[in-house]
Symmetry: C2
Subunit: 109 residues, 2 copies
């Protein structure tokens, strides 16, 4: 689903990653848990995710402070550590401010 | 591949879309052509893309002006129009400024 986000400005974390071949079941369980946990955090606005050669997860947030708190969340810290030691061959995290957005949907005419 | 981008600030276009079932071959040809064409534009820095339920393409640019020029490019305008009439059930385009980034790669130790 395309995340339903408010009028800008708001913030996003673009997380691009390349998986190792380690532990696919554990990885998928943790990825699902992290999406659920993120959705419970203050300031969370939505998330979009897809993986082919690279995985791209974009999470949307009300503020940089909300992003900082999510990064520091204890369970998320454990996931980040396992990401570096087990699951990812490489990743890049980019923190950005959404300046402008526009869209299109057949459903909305 | 994870795009190799310079130190922030720089800019990104996060394009999230849901495909119709129309014209898969035509869509893939055009998507490939647009990536090649984007890479030839002034100010282009890189692109990352993946599709499952949603498609996410993030292109990176030196400036908002580079993004404006790419949006207005004649061949890209044709692709955008076909996107609305044929290929996409919905999409959202978000223009953002990358404030901060960090990464990890096994190759780099």
């Amino acid at each position: 689903m395309i995340a339903s986000t408010p009028a800008p400005p708001y913030y996003a974390v673009i997380f691009t990653s390349i998986r190792t071949e380690n532990d696919p079941a554990g990885y998928h369980d943790m990825a699902d848990r992290m999406v659920e946990l993120a959705a419970d955090q203050p300031g969370f606005l939505g998330v979009e995710s897809a993986r082919e050669e690279v995985g791209i997860t974009v999470s949307y947030w009300e503020s940089l402070e909300a992003i900082r708190q999510w990064k520091a969340h204890a369970d998320h810290q454990i996931a980040q550590s396992l990401g570096r030691t087990e699951w990812y061959a490489a990743y890049k995290t980019r923190i950005c401010r959404i300046e402008r957005d526009y869209g299109f949907s057949i459903d909305k005419g």
